[in-house]
Symmetry: C2
Subunit: 455 residues, 2 copies
Amino acid sequence: MPEPRPRPPKASPGNGVLLTDLYELTMLQAYFDEGLDGTAAFELFMRTLPPGRNFLLAAGLEQVLDYLAQLRFTASELAWLRRTKRFTPAFLESLAGLRFTGDVDAMPEGTAFFPDEPILRITAPLREAQLVESRVMNLLHYETLVASKAARCALAAGDRLLVDFGLRRAHGAEAALLSARASHLAGFTGTATVEAGRRWGIPIFGTMAHSYVQVHADESQAFERFAMAQRGNATLLIDTYDTERAAHRVVALAPRLAAQGIAIRGVRLDSGDLAEHARRVRAILDAGGLTGVTIFASGNLDEFRLAELRASGAPIDGYGVGTRMNTSADAPYFDCAYKLQEYDGEPRRKRSEGKATWPGRKQVWRAYDADGRFAGDTLSLADEPQAGEPLLVPFVRSGAAARARTTLAESRDLARRQMARLPEPLRSLQAATPPYPVVVTEGLRKLAARIDART
Amino acid sequence: MPEPRPRPPKASPGNGVLLTDLYELTMLQAYFDEGLDGTAAFELFMRTLPPGRNFLLAAGLEQVLDYLAQLRFTASELAWLRRTKRFTPAFLESLAGLRFTGDVDAMPEGTAFFPDEPILRITAPLREAQLVESRVMNLLHYETLVASKAARCALAAGDRLLVDFGLRRAHGAEAALLSARASHLAGFTGTATVEAGRRWGIPIFGTMAHSYVQVHADESQAFERFAMAQRGNATLLIDTYDTERAAHRVVALAPRLAAQGIAIRGVRLDSGDLAEHARRVRAILDAGGLTGVTIFASGNLDEFRLAELRASGAPIDGYGVGTRMNTSADAPYFDCAYKLQEYDGEPRRKRSEGKATWPGRKQVWRAYDADGRFAGDTLSLADEPQAGEPLLVPFVRSGAAARARTTLAESRDLARRQMARLPEPLRSLQAATPPYPVVVTEGLRKLAARIDART
């Protein structure tokens, strides 16, 4: 009897090898024909910061490592490729045995970083390093996009509770899940997305929808029934008809529930002037003796609204932040690149207008001031040691794990510590002047000039 | 021997029932405790148009119908819910048998629509209609977002070839796949995403990356090898070092390849002033006798850049459009709502500030002028017939298909015909003044007033 096939490590949806750009496969066909299979080093970095941003937060490495570990062509994928008549039989046969056998160096998830700094390097036989380009970018770009936005929300919200509410307008299923993960990593306490709770152990939060209130004959009845079903854990949505009137209803209801041993946990505001409603509702609740009932707010929130609400002193205890966070609405994409920096021991450099890159395998070194805050980064060649802490560390060697995977809790803790070490001007929601210093070494500059002179 | 279990219909990643907001489940627990299970009608609509937009294009219904058809809780999902200790055993037991048994009325994919017009109505037992809210919105919102943006690109590009290049910066795997589908539906010819070609038969396109040029000793050699591997189908990327010099290299190479019976199909520009480069490259190619070699352009394109390039008369034959299309960068989300409009035969209305909705089950009627162009829509109650064509049609009755599924090709054809029927001012990339007229019937207005008076 055959052995049962080992389960691929944590297969996640979308990790099929055909989730790639066609040109990766056509290039692999050409490399196969040419017999080109030297070692290639590709690095992933962001070319610029979006307007108003001061730093980015690396996330998504865990998903990249899963993807690489399970990289393979199934028989049915190869059969489909054969039917496209775009590839030679010998080439397709060669793909059957393809696995990821290379190295991965990366900044751990939760590391703050800056433009031109590689956050990931893949060093592998050419076809492996090329093939994975599309999906590696797709994963690392999106989680970094969300973590970077969520980190700003966390800075703006201070000590208030933040919960991801973004499933419904996330760009598809995976965006909903990965944004729950990346926002938790960056400082959100939890998410409303149940599957993200199941998959990663992220705390899940939920209140009620307007529809719940609407199916009941009156609002008070809806509140009472929900509080009873939730046995002390209910957050009541109070803006379906008239927010302050609903707050009075909560006050009237509380003693009736208390008689049955049931407390109301909180109320939620979801429309109108949140600061003003929060003040009025707080006063109504307090006057009714409900000082322990929390106020939770949601509705088109982002770091700017959170900062305004905080500055206004609005008595809001927590926030549901959704769409604008997980679509990174002010900057829905980064200028992310995955570029060949070295092939067969020779550094390479792309020189396209406005898109030139620093050649060679590189390292990023971070210096700290006396308080432990970031004092400046140095971008160097990998074999050109500098003062400071090297940020890229080995994660995979020859296809095998080179260090234990960090847990999501550990990455979250790193992100928290990184935020605490950000220089004060970088904690602002506006662009800091001057921006954080990233110095390029003389060695790297000379190499770039030498390559330019050569080609 | 047991029967083999029937395969769930076209399961797609992310369609697990726990891809939902926690509050859907806590509301279901409350409904279960209360014994509330009347028939609910929810409608999905967009509250507003983003700035500069004149219409939206409905897409994603196919994925919604798949999701509803396979809706069920697996034993392991129920076991996990049990472990959260948030739900009663009797309630969880009741979920085991849950299937979608309701009705779906919707605008067919590819229909142009306007604010406040429902594009989907789900009429079902309360728990079913409520539970599916999060994922139904997630699917329909995103594909409509992309189709609406891609339709503008198609209007701007005229008869030029458009190809989706967006996998790498799409928000996750599903966004990459669904945006390939939605953009094809809205007028793109194809996509670079291989899996989208496999899944839906969308034509796939590919060129080459800068890395391919870079691994070769010189650019001419890279072009020659790629052209040979692609056997006449090669589009050569010519901006890695110097665009015009590379065009001359293509001209020098062509006779050598022709001697082996190999033609060059096209060249691609990916940086710099695309119009200016295209003119120079066209002149170089034409002077070299390569009048049949096409010019393909990519790099940060959207409908505005496409319109500029078209207006400039740049000799560009086709475009790769990626990130800005599939993140809908100027409007990365719509103000999308899924609202209870009727419960147990009684119309309902949410009145939250700035978020009031039209109550009751509704229909949208479209009138046409003598040329067949849209002449105005009417929003009415579902049982209040008006002049014009009713846009919401039955897709599901009591959980079963009420009409044959349309193919993607048919939806694409409908979208094309809808674009042709758009009034001229709506074809502009700027906001039309006045906007397209959507009249609300007297019957609907009276109903809203009656409900407001009642609560």
